[in-house]
Subunit: 410 residues, 2 copies
């Protein structure tokens, strides 16, 4: 078997932790596997480097953004060197690779590049010599040979993309939790670890607030059929496998419940009820890279309507200012905002074949007196916006109401 | 003109110093020159990185030495990113280059690689766009694409080698002194800055204790005819030009006086006076990478002789142990060591055409009662070993005795 193991910044944050990573890689190799390790920068290192860069130039032009990647990418480069040295110290053989050395080719969007292709040949050569290949996560080079970084969380994506390129049998993502849970165990004591979950479900959970896996890494896994194993770097327990959908997954109505707290709601009052009006409102937001999530338009009978939508909480002020500046006539009748909301979601491929999930969700919330402010659905998820103070209660009510705490984890 | 400017670790040691480097580069460019900047790691950074590596693995096998270079090379990579950002902040345009990106090809001797070739094309492209090219010193890649470092002081060599490859009109080496002096001004108050000095003289001075330029960088400069300008990063004064020999340099008997204090003397008593005996003695030292400098053999009449030689002081203990172990019969009659010696040298191309320099040197020392323990000469230098306590006195006596303090600096 060819196994890719990805370790985050905390897992290589100290010399002792680096030794543990080395021992785990060697143990995996001794089980007869080829091992490729992807590592992040030591925890805190990327922030230190970028802070140094900001001290020198707090607002580089787009031409000079490339230098941020030159600087930030050194964090992972140090890590791969150290992990390789640790493997050698523990009696193994290792070879490190920068993104450029193993030809992780990306586009040229510095600080947020996307992987275009990976040439696995050099890694295969190292594996063929009995070495553990230690690859820098989070980075690549563009066609011109410029160093690029994938943006925050990009090491997960590196791991899965390399697993895809090498046709690895599994991509293990090591983290500080045991796997993916039916809900946040800190909020919901009855939450259970999920044994197997489909890419689609994982994507929805990741999009809706679960932080255990980066969204783009799941997309990559789904696209190339990479089996992702999310597990703890502190023990040898099986974690959660993220895999193609399986028959028995459909038997479960809801796989998980999640909550996103970093949202805010904007309501435009008395908007003219005319075709094209939504496009007009959302164009400036889109151009400013503000992601609008849910949108609700209330029908009115006076040729005017109220329009409500949600944006990331951090973008609320900017969104309102943009609308006031670019569309003063929209702001005329007033803009209301609310940043004490949250979005609670239930996710599960079982919804496709089972009716009544939405109905049951609304009833469960109603029983606790939780008022629903907005609703949005997809084929395998239902999200509702409720007042922020109900966040934890709503998660517990839905989690237990859908029987997630009582049944063996999927 | 195309000007290469090399800045050491102290010159980029803080954010403020980095800004000063940026301003100097821009000022040079605004005088109408193309500018290529070579930078070292921020002072202390290489040591920090190597200490981290040592914590993980204090004695990597030769296979894993490559990882030390992966780690150490990040120091310069961060510097080139920061200097480029600083140039941008000051209103200029810059592009950074790692050793690999500007194709500085070296052999594969990790941690002490030698430059084989440099492809200046990418740098010329950046210059053609009106950018300042900012190149990481101290590093390259081998034919396989492995990252290599040139070993301590290698940034000077990078600077001169890049200047040679680009056919630069000058290579400016910025340092914390004003240039090359006729003697160490701390020892000899009448020392003067030398305006122009030949490669050969500079090479001798660097080999004999002057620390202002790394020896290999001078060799490179001589080989490719690169004009090196050693100057201060703290002011705009002209420093010392290291250039091909010029006619008027021969008019000066002695260009400079220098002293090396890190030497020690070993005397083997009663060595058999037979052919091949020297080879037998020095082979184990050579194999152990101990550099033997001066060697003197006293003629004896009893078929036995005393043999004296000097080694770096740090290698003294090892050298004696080696001889005792590998050649016990040599050690029979006794080994005497002396680590309180120093080597004082006078250097100048004028010696070639002027007789009597050695005689004058001996007389000057004798007048002060300084006993000469060993003598060694080359075409353009005379070195003597004297007791360490006379080091400063000998330098002053020779410096002023040869008229270096009285004449305008060459």
């Amino acid at each position: 078997m060819l196994v890719v193991q990805k370790f985050g910044g905390t897992s290589v944050g100290t010399v002792d932790r680096i030794r543990e990573v080395a021992r785990r890689c060697i143990a995996t190799q001794q089980q007869g596997h080829d091992v490729v390790v992807i590592v992040s920068a030591m925890s805190g290192e990327t922030n230190r480097l970028l802070a140094l860069a900001r001290q020198v130039n707090d607002d580089p032009s787009s031409e000079h953004e490339r230098e941020l990647d030159v600087i930030a990418s050194t964090g992972e480069q140090v890590s791969v060197g150290l992990v390789s040295l640790a493997i050698a110290k523990e009696g193994g053989r290792a070879q490190s690779f920068t993104g450029g050395q193993c030809r992780i080719i990306t586009d040229s969007s510095f600080t947020r590049a996307r992987i275009k292709s990976i040439d696995g040949q050099k890694i295969h050569e190292a594996l063929g010599l009995g070495k553990i290949a230690v690859v820098a996560g989070f980075q690549g080079i563009d066609e011109e040979g410029n160093i690029t970084t994938l943006g925050r969380g990009g090491s997960d994506t590196s791991g899965v993309a390399i697993a895809a390129a090498l046709k690895a049998d599994a991509c293990e993502i090591y983290t500080d939790v045991d796997g993916v849970y039916t809900a946040d165990p800190n909020v919901c004591p009855s939450a259970r670890k999920i044994a197997r979950i489909s890419y689609e479900e994982m994507l929805e959970l990741a999009s809706l607030g679960a932080k255990v896996l980066q969204i783009r890494s799941v997309e990559f896994g789904m696209k190339y059929g990479v089996k992702i194993h999310v597990r703890s770097s502190f023990n040898m327990n099986e974690g959660t496998w993220v895999v193609p959908e399986e028959k028995q997954m459909e038997d479960v109505l809801v796989a998980g419940v999640t909550v996103a707290k970093d949202e805010a709601k904007v309501t435009l009052l008395g908007v003219p009820d005319k075709p094209g009006i939504a496009a007009k409102i959302f164009r400036p937001l889109s151009e400013a890279n503000i992601v609008v999530d849910m949108i609700i338009q209330n029908i009115s009978d006076a040729g005017r309507t109220d329009l409500t939508f949600t944006v990331p909480r951090g973008d609320l002020k900017r969104a309102v200012e943009l609308i006031k500046r670019t569309l003063p006539e929209m702001a005329e009748a007033g803009i209301k905002t609310d940043d004490s909301i949250c979005k609670v979601s239930v996710v599960g491929v079982g919804m496709r074949s089972h009716a009544g999930v939405a109905q049951k969700m609304f009833e469960l919330l109603a029983e606790e007196g939780i008022n629903i402010l907005m609703i949005s659905t997809s084929e395998i998820k239902i999200s509702v916006v409720v007042e922020a103070k109900y966040a934890e209660l709503a998660v517990r009510v839905l989690h237990d109401g859908f029987g997630l705490g009582n049944q063996p984890a999927k």
